[in-house]
């Protein structure tokens, strides 16, 4: 293995700094770990992206990919935008980011296969991607085993920073618990305290964790559950469940189905007259649900998500993100793109803070971000050291009427931005035990 002069110098500086700061965590990092330093050449590093571009998650996956690509292009160019994020020069620590995208069809085994290839063949210094929680959990475990950093893509399950949390995985999206706790008071204020609710719950981890969290926090607001219909993932015809919901006498219909399931079940709910008699609440909105169902059906719907482009009026970096994304891709980014974009920048910033690509140092930089929060597209945020969940604001949205829309993608108004600190679960609440660094 060959070192160039620059790396030797950097290493020397790092060692010197370590020696000068006894007790500093950085001093204990191993010189060789995972793909470091093999994966760091004089002028570039490699990042592996595992993204479903075909299959049921392809819509979200396409959006996610564009987010990563935009961030990488901006970081590599080293222009004004990268500087606003606090990055110096072109690339990360002077290295250009090279990347490959592998289509993983949303199947965890393909995620693991591609990520393994990225690590072994391309010496990836970081891996990111995933649209489903199952993929994210598999990749997190792989990252910790191979000692390669994994920045979680789209994944909302409590388990990712809960019982399946890993030292090498970091998530920027809020978990189901945070989303539900943030939403319940806002929705109760708008729709009333003593209302009857009916739940449609998809029968898998995501559905159950979202149900548990939302049922708990809405009950605290005085909501009474009158129906709970559990349906298999990928159900095509919801008529029998919807018939029960239609006859339940509920005032609010809480639809937890996600992606294509959310589209099908909401369409059918409208046909059964459910949406006429009940207000619709969607704890986690799917990326393109608005477009897929249209404002006619989505008007008045309450939901939460990672990011909505209307946040550009609140946060300066969101404005630059939305503007550059629209210029490049001719549509407004959804939260998939935002997660890819923000996670890439967060990683780059953490590497520059650590002054090295050594994953142990980068992890420690992220874990100590509470003291020095990142300035991002959603304001100041940090990763919690205990479970690697980001503490972040959560936008609560309400669907606009077709007549209120200023352009054809102006689907939601932001009714509230919940403060992150106030909605966090205790770090050990879902049984998180981070593994070792080395």
């Amino acid at each position: 293995m060959q070192f160039d002069r620059r790396q030797l110098l950097l290493g020397g500086v790092g060692t010197a700094a370590g020696l000068m700061l006894p007790g500093s965590a950085f001093a204990q990092s191993p010189a060789t770990i995972g793909t470091f330093p093999e994966g760091v050449t004089a002028d570039s590093v490699f990042v592996g992206l595992t993204i479903p571009l075909t299959g049921v998650f392809s819509g979200d996956g396409g959006d996610l990919k564009l987010g990563y690509e935009l961030a990488i292009a901006q970081i590599n160019a080293g222009g004004d935008i990268a500087q606003k994020w606090g990055l110096k020069g072109k690339g990360v620590l002077g290295r250009q980011i090279k990347y490959k995208v592998s289509d993983t069809e949303g199947k965890p085994n393909l995620d693991v296969q591609s990520a393994t290839q990225f690590i072994q063949r391309d010496k990836a210094i970081m891996v990111s991607g995933s649209v489903s929680s199952a993929s994210a959990i598999a990749l997190e475990e792989l990252g910790s085993r191979e000692k390669v950093l994994y920045m979680v893509g789209i994944a909302g399950s409590n388990d990712i920073t809960g019982k399946n949390c890993q030292r090498y995985g970091f998530r920027s999206q809020q978990n189901a618990y945070m989303a539900a706790k943030a939403m319940a008071p806002v929705v109760a204020k708008a729709l009333g305290k003593n209302v009857k609710s009916a739940f449609l719950v998809p029968d898998y981890t995501y559905g159950h964790t979202v149900y548990d969290s939302f049922a708990k926090f809405s009950a605290e607001q005085g909501w009474k559950q009158v129906a709970k219909e559990v349906v298999p993932l990928g159900t095509t015809d919801y008529s029998s469940a919807l018939l029960n919901i239609a006859n339940s006498g509920a005032d609010v219909f809480v639809n937890i189905a996600f992606g294509g399931d959310a589209v099908a079940s909401t369409k059918q709910a409208e046909q059964f007259g459910v949406l006429k008699r009940m207000k619709l609440v969607v704890p986690n909105l799917s990326s393109f649900q608005d477009k897929e169902l249209g404002a006619e059906l989505m008007q008045g719907v309450y939901g939460s998500c990672d990011f909505w482009w209307g946040l550009q009026d609140t946060y300066p970096l969101a404005k630059t993100f939305v503007e550059s994304f629209v210029a490049q891709n001719k549509y407004y980014p959804r939260w998939g793109a935002h997660i890819g974009y923000m996670q890439t920048y967060l990683w780059a910033m953490s590497v520059e803070r650590a002054g090295t690509f050594n994953p142990v140092d980068v992890i420690k930089a992220m874990e100590s971000s509470k003291a020095q929060p990142y300035e991002t597209t959603i304001g100041k945020v940090y990763f919690r050291a205990e479970d690697h969940q980001m503490v972040r604001p959560i936008p609560i949205l309400r669907g606009k009427k077709p007549s209120e829309m200023k352009n054809k993608e102006d689907f939601y108004e932001i009714v509230d931005i919940a403060d992150g600190e106030s909605v966090m679960n205790a770090p050990d609440f879902f049984g998180c035990k981070l593994g070792p660094y080395t």
Partner: protein
Amino acid sequence: MPSWPVLISQAFNGLALGTLLALVSSGLTIILGTLGVLNFAHGALFAVGAYAAFVLLQYTSSFVLAIVVGCGFMLVLGFLLERIIIRYFYDRPHEDQILVTYGVGIVLVECVRAAFGGNAQRVPVPSWGQGATQMGFLIYPTYRLQLIAIIAGLLLSLYLVLYRTSMGLVVRAGIENPGMVGILGINVRRAFLLVFAIGVVAVGLAGMLYAPVVAVTPDMGANFMAQSFVVIVLGGLGSFPGAVIGGLIAGEIISLTSAFNSSYSEVMLYALMAVLLIMRPQGLFGSEDRA
């Protein structure tokens, strides 16, 4: 114990759901029952039908016209598939037929994805089917009520064409002994071509009629294909009346179980299928040799 109104509502819903399942399965059973080919592109063709409705509705405001033109399109697609690929596989083992139709399915789905992207497309309910109808204590979507009648008519005409005309006879004779039918001076290949195309039209039509109800995505067919298999296994592989009865039974099981607990509805469906396969492997209407 659910109340009587709930049970009656669910029993009625089971009937509506059952007719839809019967229509979705009919294309699969036509091709299997007459040509002996297990068509694994069934789900993909269902999606192609739904997308055909989506595209055609952009150009015409008439749902009926879109369906008619869509059927023409599916017929041509069926002809092309049979001439270019399927006809070389009638004499090959079932494994080869499954592989080639599965491959065709992947190609079709990816073509749809390349053309329209991965997000769901919107197909509105036709103007004459909008809203819900109040029937006593039961409120039910108008379009679904109309579908029951439309599908009953369609299934009956398909049955008559395939089993009560000389063409149907030629096809069934051709499967048993193509040489003999040929010696009798009948062009059996042309009958095969037509039957395959009719099967493709049937599944495409199911996709078109179902499009306003479900999420129209490239992968929408996968779940319908799984359900179709359950239905034709219940009814008896390759039996057309079996597919209709199988569909109705499946619909009732899903719906009535939901009256008690919806999370068990699919479990009950597969449990019944397992029991039936043990007691009567050829299905309700299947004959021993075809099964």
